[in-house]
């Protein structure tokens, strides 16, 4: 394959995945607001369009036309850079997520993953671990005690839960024997979805991913009852919206990873489709599975009360981390015994 064809294929794949992640944001705004309304037994936004479906558009317009305020005492360069950096990790991690079987175009086999690299899963974890910097920068640069406290909490929380998350992901990799996410999908296609043999690892992954995306019940960095809005207290207009988008993009990326690791990714059980049909069905399957995950995110947020900070730390270090290590050992032994 020539370099131009290669670049063209990559650009098309990027367009598909970026289009997916960016379109999740307005849809999720609607789902979040209507979902919370459903759970709290009130109508929710229902004026614009059928079921209030056009509400996200109005929200987006409002964000764009609001006044953009920078505090006088803020650290300008960091303050302005933070919302931009917030989106980067979430949008860049999707490059390692496979979204369909290999397709053949003009005699060339093209894998349906943007970056088919050896370090797939590790690259995802590495890039997503950079997400904390935008929160720290925003909190520090705002020069506001609530923001600073939010940033300190964010850094401690993300470090604590990243360990449990990474170790539970590694446990999936052991029986597969490859960091390529496509191999993980193929492994599950042959056997069963990973969440059945690795249920402990899956629960750890689930809890840690709520903490990693700063979602309730672990939204301590922006706990509105104590910290107003935490690290983004001072932000307004589009800069605030950028943090908002980053949260949903990070949720989508982490859902993609979770679905690929534990629920067969783009594959369907008992069905093997090839070529373009397989690609379209594969992508649709991934989207549906991610949508279910996002619904769970919303459901959990509006049904669980927020953790206290010491409870959060205790859960992370004294419960999840030892459990994750235990799970890793169990999986390693089971793999050696040939049960997985």
């Amino acid at each position: 394959m020539t370099m131009t064809q290669d670049l063209l294929a990559t650009a098309l794949k990027l367009a598909v995945m970026l289009g997916f992640v960016l379109n999740v944001v307005p849809v999720m705004v609607w789902v979040e607001r209507r979902g919370s309304a459903l759970i709290q037994d009130r109508p929710g936004p229902n004026r614009l369009g059928p079921f209030g479906l056009i509400q996200p558009l109005a929200d987006a317009l409002k964000f764009m036309f609001k006044e953009d305020i920078t505090p006088a005492e803020a650290d300008k360069p960091l303050y302005l850079a933070a919302p931009v950096l917030a989106l980067l990790p979430a949008l860049s991690t999707i490059v390692v997520i496979p979204f369909g079987p290999n397709i053949t175009v003009g005699g060339h086999e093209i894998p349906l993953v943007i970056a088919n690299v050896d370090a797939g899963v590790l690259l995802f974890l590495a890039l997503s671990s950079l997400g904390v910097y935008s929160l720290i920068m925003a909190g520090y640069a705002s020069n506001n005690k609530f923001s600073l406290l939010g940033a300190i909490r964010a850094s401690a929380q993300l470090i604590s839960y990243e360990l449990a998350l990474t170790i539970s992901v590694l446990a999936v990799i052991i029986p597969v024997g490859s960091f390529y996410l496509n191999d993980v999908v193929a492994y599950q296609q042959e056997r069963v979805w990973n969440f059945i043999p690795q249920i402990l690892g899956f629960v750890i992954f689930l809890i840690a991913s709520f903490a990693e995306t700063n979602r309730a019940p672990f939204d301590l960095p922006e706990a509105e009852s104590e910290l107003i809005a935490g690290f983004h207290t001072e932000y307004s207009a589009m800069r605030f919206a950028s943090f908002f988008m980053a949260e949903y993009a990070a949720m989508t990326a982490l859902s993609c990873l979770g679905v690929t690791l534990y629920f067969g990714g783009w594959s369907l059980p008992f069905v093997h489709l090839e070529g373009w049909l397989g690609a379209i069905v594969g992508f649709a399957t991934l989207v549906v599975k991610v949508a279910i995950c996002m619904a769970v995110f919303v459901w959990v947020r509006w049904t669980f009360p927020r953790f206290r900070y010491d409870q959060l730390m205790r859960l992370g270090w004294k419960v999840l981390l030892p459990l994750a290590i235990l799970n890793l050992l169990l999986v390693a032994v089971m793999t050696l015994a040939g049960w997985l």
Binding site: L122, S129, L130, V132, G139, Y140, S155, A156, F179
Partner: protein, 201 residues
């Protein structure tokens, strides 16, 4: 293409490393350290070692530097107060260090000779190769490093912990004077009689 990427990230690495040592604000220094580590990771990937590159970001940029920032924010360190190189002895030591470093660099280039100019990512180290080498040939050194780190962790925990009330009573464990962090303000407005954070009624 490759040369352009290399030049860009090599330049970024050097410039951000310079910012790390010269910038007055510790937050900016740490942020440029992240940039340095990230550029180094890109260079590692270009050298055909994606594993090292990913670990560089995951561990150093993703965890260790976050802890640096955590401490800086917790202690609320503002701009550096000491003027640079205040002690003459420091200056001589710095010169000596720079001399030794330059000597090593000269030695290195003299040994290797001129770089060959071959494309960088041609030799590609796969995970399997790396793991086989690490866990077959270098198993003993690997385990020794693990043990050393474990000892360091236990040592740090012992050094940082406080005596339990029972131990303090028996005089079994004396951690000495509580370390006071320079520049940290004690609570400014505490009324010694009431212990409340207020100036007046």
């Amino acid at each position: 293409m490759e040369t352009v990427v290399f030049a860009l990230f090599a330049f970024l690495a050097v410039v951000s490393a310079l910012v790390v040592v010269t910038h007055k604000s510790p937050i900016y220094s740490t942020m440029s350290l992240v940039l340095t580590l990230f550029s180094m990771a890109v260079l590692f990937v270009m050298l055909g070692a994606p594993f090292i590159g990913a670990l560089q970001i995951l561990i150093y940029a993703g965890a260790i530097v976050v802890l640096f920032l955590f401490v800086i924010m917790l202690l609320n360190v503002e701009r550096e107060e000491m003027p640079h190189a205040s002690q003459p002895a420091q200056r001589w030591l710095a010169l000596l260090g720079a001399g030794i470093f330059a000597g090593f660099l000269v030695l290195l280039f003299w040994r290797i000779g001129t770089p060959s100019g071959a494309p960088m990512s041609e030799t590609f180290v796969s995970f399997k190769q790396l793991a086989t080498e690490l866990f077959r040939q270098y198993l003993l050194p690997f385990e020794m490093v693990g043990l050393l780190l474990l000892v360091a962790v236990i040592g740090a925990t012992v050094a940082a912990r406080r005596a339990t009330p029972l131990e303090a009573q028996a005089g079994l464990y004396d951690p000495g004077e509580e370390p006071r962090v320079e520049g940290q303000r004690s609570a400014p407005h505490v009324n010694p009689e009431t212990g409340l954070h207020v100036h007046s009624d």
